[in-house]
Point group: C2
Chain length 289, copies 2
């Protein structure tokens, strides 16, 4: 099956391939990734196939979304295996550009989303969302997808991309796909492979905290500080540092402060470090179950 | 003939109209304007018709490219006459959105070009090019043109849009059209209608200065400070204030400093005020004649 996947490294080659697909009457779906693929990524492809007939996945570790002190150099790279995995779920083309293809010498344009990108990861990673918005714009313009699928594990990233696509009137539907978890609750992430066995055990504190908050919410708890504490207590004891544990509006991402009750739905979002590994997780209370 | 022009105010209506044109096999050309049209704008439409079969013009005075102290409120508005003029040159559709269509409540995304937007008008109008880049991105995403045409009178604007389109890998060819001048040399501009008869006379200093530099360049003058002085002397005596008279690289817009010789081609760019009216003009030495 893998022989049918087209591997593309050139930007204009990719544009041409997608144009030709459209000329044949295909609809183009797109799943951008940074590689080191797991079942969560493959679920995005499966989702994309519900919306489009010709599926493009990209594997590109985007340098502009990493700060100098972050793990760009160490980010897991496993392109051959990634392509094999994408073949099994029926991807038609995989785009694996060099950094200089996406950021050629002299390039100087950036896309910036405002308020949605400001809180949560925008505080601990101030350049992150500008890098994401910029690379996704470039990839959208090359692929021209009718639908693009992103995982909800990167909840704020999805919100930023939705905002950007709407604000810039991009001709694409952005679809979010639910978090895919390991059987013990750990949200799938390419960075999980960094975790030692002991760290992996500690990493379960994130999903455990979310489950506690979710249970309390279902039992009627609406005090944001109580819901937040249920998560924070779990995460803080298990992790080496906490970037944030926040209760926020699921649309605007504005924090619901202590003393304010949460509404029908509330985002619980976590970012923390287990050893050297930064992990994130989230749940929208009131959305599932 | 004007009955054949489709007037569109809604964003999705415009997108649909252009999608339908493409489905019929048409190629879409685009001429974005701020209205108050003159023969220079109509020449852009005529140029667009060389590249595409279905021509969309927009009339939108973009609030984000004006600073609070600038002439957004006073900018000339003459939509009915504009549409009639566009009909005479064979525009197929005119997009005349409300500001709230392009900037709905909650929108928060901006496109920013770096070095190309920094000198010249980027100094005197620091928010200008971010506003331009953002609105042009939105309009491109709605129209989906294969070709978009901009006037070279706004030389830096054209350079910024070219840069943005290339950097963000937009599927559009950006075409620049030569400056259209009145018979006495004044570059056509919507803002010329602000000028009193006496001011209009003074405004001829811009094209006169450019002509002097051009003549000197043709006669072999390559000292940037001499070329600059020829223009500056004309403009400074006639205008109320000078934002800049600059000799610059025509590609990067980097200023050629006094003491540096100019090369085969050099941009001479002027921005100044005649009364309350800000005028710009430019010429690329070595390019014409």
């Amino acid at each position: 099956m893998s022989t049918r996947v087209k591997i593309v490294t050139g930007a204009e080659e990719l544009r041409h391939l997608c144009n030709e697909a459209r000329k044949r009457g295909e609809s183009v779906g797109f799943v951008p990734t940074m590689g080191a693929l797991h079942a969560g990524h493959l679920a995005l492809v499966t989702e994309a196939k519900k919306h489009a007939t010709f599926i493009v996945a990209s594997i590109f570790i985007n340098p502009t979304q990493f700060a100098p002190n972050e793990d760009f150099a160490a980010y897991p790279r496993d392109v051959e295996n990634d392509i094999a995995k994408l073949a099994t779920v029926g991807v038609n083309a995989v785009f694996t550009p060099e950094a200089s293809t996406i950021y050629p010498p002299g390039e100087e344009t950036r896309v910036r989303v405002g308020r949605t990108a400001a809180p949560l990861c925008g505080i601990s990673r101030p350049h992150f969302f500008e890098g994401v918005a910029t690379v996704v714009t470039k990839l959208f313009n090359l692929v021209g997808p009718c639908t693009a699928v992103f995982g909800k594990k990167d909840y704020q990233q999805l919100a930023v991309i939705r905002r950007m696509a709407a604000d810039l009137m991009m001709p694409v539907t952005v679809v979010g796909h639910p978090i895919v978890r390991e059987s013990d609750g750990l949200a799938m992430s390419s960075r999980n492979r960094y975790l030692s066995a002991a760290d992996r055990e500690r990493a379960l504190s994130l999903s455990r905290g979310l489950a506690k908050a979710s249970r309390a919410f279902k039992e009627g708890e609406r005090r944001s500080e109580t819901l937040r504490s249920l998560v924070d207590d779990e995460v803080r004891v298990a992790s080496d540092s906490v970037d944030y544990v926040e209760i926020a509006d699921p649309e605007t991402l504005v924090a619901i402060q202590a003393g304010q009750p949460v509404g029908e739905r509330a985002l619980v979002a976590i970012a923390c470090r287990i050893g050297a590994t930064r992990l994130i997780d989230n749940e929208v209370l009131g959305e599932n179950g």
